[in-house]
Amino acid sequence: MKILKLEKSDLDKWLAEWMKSSPVYAPVQSGFGSFYDWARLEQGRMPELLPGVPKSSIKTFLFPQPETLEEFSADPADPSAFILKAPKTAEQLTIIAGVRPCDARSVSLNALPYAKDPYYSNRLRNTALVGFTCETQCSTCFCTRTGGLPTGTEGLDIAITRMDNTFLAEILTQKGELLAEAGRTGTDAGGDALSRLEQSRKNSGSPVSSADDPAPILREKDLMALYQAPFWQEIAEPCLNCGACTFLCPTCYCFDIQDEVIRDRGRRIRYWDSCMFPLFTLHASGHNPRGLKLQRVRNRFMHKLKYFPERFGPISCVGCGRCIRECPVNIDIREVYTDLLAI
């Protein structure tokens, strides 16, 4: 792995160079930091990083809301009416910069259930993630309790870490190499860069190992014991069954599909759905297997913390804390972890 040393001006140059050929997105602030979210960068509009993660989830880029899967003509006079055609998509690289390690991990985690999903795979192939490792863990951050780290690099193509007043960029993938080349600046950080990087991380007091990844423990737990645990009623009681937690969560990936027709053009879209909505499981017969709030709340947590790890290994939560920050009734997944682990 190559490590480059960059000044602040080199970073600006990288972004400016990338913007010439690709759309580049990064977190920016508005309203004096009160609204911190992704935006497309333009020459002159640079990332404005705050500690922690932007408002909305990074999944928006890989799992857009909505995504057009097919297009069709709805004109009865058209001989090819209602025949589905794949929409024309350009193979273009999208660069997402200022990605926090938890968000980067979520992209890899979602790739597990979506391994055979052509839409997700295509976007993943055409997306480069340039990360910024964290110096601060916010009060809602808990990556270290989910198998991640504030300095983690999983899922990233380039990981940038600030060291004093310069930056070290770890070039992690082939895509990352291409980007570093396209940036046309930066010097080799020298053979000892990696050890210096590790040393500075140790000194910064930031955790260096994810000591309590609950996945192995949760995988071993008896499913029915967790399912029938006594605490679900109390957890679920205040829930509004809205979509704030699941829509902002980077690792929630459920969708529904619908055909939309406007005049003589139609498209088949997939759009985000949420297990918190009663409609999510409503059958055509009128029966609803998850008709109760308790069942829906339990499903959200059981999916992330039990069904997903059983099927794929890791838990489906990266500890970004968005759901904790934005839940109107303060349902805190960290408390649910603790409860489940105590069973």
Binding site: Q29, G31, F32, G33, S34, F35, Y36, D37, L50, P51, G52, K55, S56, Q65, P66, T136, C138, S139, T140, E237, P238, L240, N241, C242, G243, A244, F247, L248, D256, Q258, E260, I269, Y271, W272, S274, F277, L279, I324, R325, E326, P328, V329, N330, I331, D332, R334, E335
Partner: protein, 340 residues
């Protein structure tokens, strides 16, 4: 905790504890401490011991009225869909209520969603609730690690620094222009009365937008809702929204598209607001819960203003007054049907 808040907290705990212990209520709906700064959690105490968890502070922004139908149902003896209702009175539920929340309960009573004799209301004169989004903006979006409430100020801790904020500078927009902070119905009063308030610029947010041209207004609206993720937290937090199937969820027929296309999002917001006309008490829950910071209660505030001007009516002030938009009289003005 400020003196006012701790007095109210202790009074709520004591009263709720007594009500639960005596069996006068089977459940008590209030708020508990949240796990992060500026958060509270709607909380249902079912034993006198649990009542000790109840708290009162400036971050009780969820309208408890919204939970009442569900909590009332939860204390009823269970029965099948075809079984007759049990003999005798059904168990009661205790609840805290400020001015707007009590008015929402009045609306619920008039719309047959809850019945007065099943509620024991602890009325609290509201000093206004704080907007966590405004506090966030005061500290430049930095991570807030703790917050302490004084009588008229908030001390915000972030990055190891303390920032002192005047409480009224971060009060929610609806609370700032509230004219009825005292509950209109209650069984026990908690704390002091807040008194009637005379607000000169009650509709200032609406007036500003009314002064715009139609094109500018549309632009304002589109810009405001552009961040909407259609999570429906606003709808679900609102005590007026109790339709078994909301028009946005209906699929046969489907009234509105499901994704975040601006046309669909616009329809959702316009219809949601209109469904609240003449019923909305400006409790601000919808706006407080919105994760994207959309100021959607400006829409319902406009309707509140219209209903006041056209019908001389304010929602939920009077249990006997007719519902303005569900009542017909022969001498209703009809300009909108018969154009003169």
């Amino acid at each position: 905790m400020s003196d006012t808040n701790s007095t109210i907290t202790l009074e709520i705990r004591a009263r709720a504890g007594e009500l639960l212990a005596s069996g006068e209520v089977k459940a008590f709906l209030g708020f508990a401490e949240g796990s992060i700064p500026m958060a509270t959690r709607p909380f249902i105490a079912r034993t006198p011991e649990q009542a000790e968890k109840l708290v009162w502070n400036s971050f009780c922004v969820i309208n408890p009225a919204g939970f009442l139908p569900e909590v009332l149902k939860s204390v009823e003896p269970s029965r099948g869909p075809k079984d007759p209702p049990p003999e005798g009175p059904l168990p009661r539920v205790g609840v805290v209520a400020t001015g707007c929340w009590s008015r929402n309960m009045v609306v619920q009573m008039k719309e047959n969603q809850v019945s007065r004799d099943r509620l024991v209301i602890l009325g609290i004169g509201s000093r206004g609730m704080v907007s966590n989004k405004k506090v966030q903006a005061m500290v430049g979006g930095r991570d807030i690690t703790a917050i302490e409430e004084g009588e008229h100020s908030l001390t915000v801790h972030c990055d190891g620094e303390k920032t002192e904020i005047h409480r009224w500078d971060v009060i929610r927009d609806n609370c700032r222009t509230c004219t009825h902070p005292d509950p209109v119905i209650f069984d026990y009063q908690i704390g002091d009365s807040a008194g009637e308030r005379h607000i000169e610029d009650r509709y200032v947010q609406v007036d500003k937008i009314e002064a715009m041209s139609a094109a500018q207004r549309w632009q304002w609206f589109q810009n405001e809702i552009s961040k909407c993720i259609r999570c429906y937290a606003c709808r679900n937090a609102c005590p007026l929204c109790y339709c078994p199937t909301c028009f946005v969820d209906d699929s046969r027929p489907q009234w509105v598209g499901k994704s975040t296309d601006p046309v669909d999002t616009s329809i959702f917001h316009i219809l949601r607001a209109y469904h609240c006309a003449g019923r909305c008490t400006d409790c601000g829950a919808c706006e407080s819960v919105c994760p994207m910071g959309i100021r959607l209660r400006i829409l319902t505030k406009k309707l509140e203003k219209d209903v006041l001007e056209m019908y001389g009516s304010e929602a939920g002030l009077d249990l006997e007054a007719p519902l303005p938009l569900a009542t017909y009289t022969m001498n209703d003005p009809q300009q909108f049907i018969i154009k003169g």
